[in-house]
């Protein structure tokens, strides 16, 4: 035999070390350069091919396309009633469970001014603002700390800026919850299904042990529709392309003074509040 056991083990060890180290190196030097390599069929894929013959995948041509999605919340228009309608729509269509207590799940919720903007303290501010109930949700930051800390890329940022969760990959380490400065993430401490009053069959639920959050309704954008909250809010929540100077969203931002949550942290949140 050409290779004895000892040699084989040595070679295998070196190959293993290079394999792990090598792929990390690639990721560091040139992020994304591995994707091409990953598309080459593995022996497993040759036995079980990903797809048949000359099939291909593509985006839906009807999909809304944006370079940088964002949201404007008009606090003058946002009545408590409209906010509740938006929250209700989101919760129903995403099967967000209603779990009582401190292990609850929230995608989008109402909170006080001092809670949403703790560092914009001003005891003499306009009482209408000070006493208003603000909508809190994932800010889909341009520089998201949750993506930075995730050890498996289960949380990642799409090219259009949406901070996405891959529930299939999440290991439930909850690092992203520590990383998020807006408290926008929730963990499934238990099986959420018994707490979903009415299931919406066309959207998955989650399973115990994974983190979840608002996705800017990526499933709606993909078929050319606006997020549920924007649709249900009666014009108080405007979704659009921040990079498009001609968009309705940018027109609103030009016309009125807007604030963002904790801009001092450099996360570049993409949810703007018109006050």
């Amino acid at each position: 035999m050409g290779v004895d056991r000892r040699q084989f083990l040595k070679l295998a060890g070196i190959a293993g070390a290079l394999g792990l180290g090598g792929s990390v190196g690639f990721q560091l030097l040139k992020p994304g350069s591995l994707d091409a390599a990953e598309r080459m069929p593995t022996p497993y894929q040759m036995v079980f091919p990903k797809s048949q013959g000359n099939s291909e995948v593509m985006p839906n041509p009807k999909a809304l396309k944006g370079r940088r999605w964002g949201m404007v919340i008009d606090m003058r228009k946002l009545t408590e009633e409209k906010a509740r309608a938006a929250i209700q729509a989101c919760n129903y269509y995403h099967n967000v469970p209603d779990i009582p207590g401190k292990q609850t799940i929230k995608w989008i919720w109402l909170t006080g001014y001092v809670n949403a903007f703790p560092e914009v303290e001003n005891p003499f501010a306009d009482p209408e603002i000070k006493n208003a109930r603000f909508i809190a949700m994932c800010n889909h930051c341009d520089n998201p700390p949750c993506v930075r800390v995730c050890p498996t890329k289960a949380t990642f940022q799409r090219e259009d800026g949406i901070v996405m969760m891959d529930m299939h990959r999440c290991i439930g380490c909850r690092f992203c919850m520590a990383g998020c400065p807006y408290g926008s993430r929730s963990f499934n401490f238990r099986d959420p299904r018994p707490f979903i009053k009415k299931e919406y069959p066309l959207y998955p639920t989650r399973t115990k042990g994974v983190v979840e959050k608002c996705t800017f309704c990526s499933e709606r954008l993909a078929v050319g529709k606006l997020p549920y909250c924007a649709e249900a809010s009666g014009g108080a929540m405007v979704f659009g392309d921040v990079d498009d100077a001609g968009s309705e969203l940018r027109r609103l931002l030009r016309s009125r003074y807007s604030i963002r949550r904790k801009p001092n942290l450099g996360t570049h949140p993409q949810v703007y509040y018109l006050v």
């Binding site: 792990l20 792929s23 990390v24 990721q27 560091l28 207590g101 401190k102 292990q103 609850t104 799940i105 929230k106 909170t111 001092v114 809670n115 949403a116 703790p118 560092e119 303290e121 809190a136 700390p145 930075r148 800390v149 995730c150 050890p151 498996t152 890329k153 289960a154 990959r169 999440c170 290991i171 439930g172 380490c173 909850r174 690092f175 919850m177 520590a178 990383g179 998020c180 400065p181 807006y182 408290g183 929730s186 963990f187 499934n188 401490f189 238990r190 099986d191 115990k208 042990g209 994974v210 983190v211 904790k262 942290l265 450099g266 996360t267």
Partner: protein, 386 residues
């Protein structure tokens, strides 16, 4: 050498069986957690890390502290540590194993743990923590085992082990630095956002680890004929003394920066810990106990008469242990999460099942430590009999 762990006194076997019973109970509790999810813990949406991660952080320190023996012995040829360096290395092994277990029981989806390697993500500190912890485990296993084996054969250790031992020195620093980076790199968590997080962690580690080692040394002396030697204990006690002073000093630096700058997102956490916030004050008695223990320990350790007293020294070491354990094992995590980013207060306290699992992991560490120490002390006894 492992056969040395297979013969022992009645006390030895009773101890092992007790540990196995506790591990079994902890495993049972873990099965409940596995089936029901982390809902059985006291963790919440606001305090999303709890006892497990806190113990992990504390034990990384214990593991890193082996360097306090390895460095003087191998780098400065400080012969006094010749007899106990192996005990430090083996303590590190047991501590790292507990760290890995604590991370595992903390995961929501433990079955997917290999995703960390399948999708390597160098921008995540947790990825690096996995690398340094596993690396440190391997380094200490190899270095400890090979040197002990050489000792048994009455030979000089092989030459190739030297670089590995030297590597273990910066590596020990790295495990606790990377662990500190887990916390210190997060925007919007004022309590953790401090550049001296890593030095603080290392100072408390170099106090806690050698204190544990002194206590273990006394225990070993009582149970077997092995004596590390008076001088070794005294040197270790000095290390503990300097380290606990640094630990308290670093803490006071934090207090000054936070209190004098008076930035609310930084002060609120310390306020919560030491005085309570909006009527929530679960941890107040604990953190003051820690401070009291720390200061008392400093007094006892600085004074050479009390430090060298073989009945007072273990007592001082217990105080150091309590001080550092409360600091890292309780206050560090809760302090960071309370109040939450929306300035709401949700308190955390572990549940019974959570404590059962924690004790089970500690028992597993004790089992590993017992077996490793049995081997090491068996070799030493054999050597002395020759």
């Amino acid at each position: 050498m492992l056969e040395k762990a297979l013969s022992g006194s009645k006390l030895y076997w009773t101890w092992l069986i007790c540990l196995l019973v506790v591990i079994g109970a902890g495993f049972g509790a873990y099965l409940v957690q596995y089936n029901k999810g982390l809902m059985i813990t006291g963790m919440s949406r606001d305090v999303s890390w709890g006892f497990y991660i806190a113990q992990f952080t504390f034990l990384v320190g214990v593991a890193a502290s082996a360097v306090m023996l390895v460095l003087p012995y191998y780098l400065h040829h400080y012969k006094t540590f010749g007899r106990i360096t192996i005990l430090g290395e083996f303590l590190a092994i047991a501590a790292v194993i507990m760290c890995i277990l604590f991370i595992t029981v903390d995961l929501g989806k433990p079955s997917r743990i290999l995703n960390v390697m399948l999708h390597p993500t160098p921008n995540s500190i947790l990825f690096w923590d996995m690398i340094v912890l596993n690396g440190y485990l391997i380094i200490n296993l190899v270095a400890g085992w090979v040197t002990l084996e050489a000792e048994r054969k009455q030979l000089a250790p092989p030459g190739w082990i030297k670089p590995i031992i030297y590597l273990s020195i910066p590596w020990a620093v790295s495990i606790h630095t990377v662990t500190a980076f887990l916390y210190a790199g997060l925007p919007g968590r004022g309590f953790w956002l401090t550049a001296i997080m890593a030095p603080r962690f290392l100072a408390s580690a170099f106090a806690a680890g050698p204190a544990v080692l002194i206590l273990l040394g006394y225990l070993v002396k009582k149970l077997t004929r092995f004596d590390a030697g008076r001088e070794a204990f005294e040197t270790l006690a000095k290390i503990v003394c300097y380290a606990i002073i640094l630990h308290i000093f670093f803490f006071l630096l934090e207090v000054f920066t936070v209190a004098y700058s008076a930035i609310p997102s930084h002060t609120s956490h310390l306020k919560y810990l030491y005085f309570g916030l909006h009527g929530h004050n679960n941890l107040v008695p604990w953190v003051w106990t820690a401070l009291a223990c720390g200061f008392t320990a400093i007094v006892l350790l600085v004074n050479p008469r009390t430090r060298k007293n073989p009945t007072i020294l273990p007592f001082a070491c217990v105080l150091v242990f309590i001080c550092t354990w409360i600091d890292k094992g309780m206050a560090m995590i809760s302090g960071g999460f309370v109040p939450n980013p929306l300035h709401e207060v949700t308190e955390y306290s572990p549940t019974g099942l959570e404590l059962m699992i924690t004790i089970g992991v500690y028992a597993a560490g004790a089992l590993v430590l017992t077996i490793l120490y049995k081997v090491a002390l068996g070799v030493k006894a054999e050597e002395e009999a020759v």
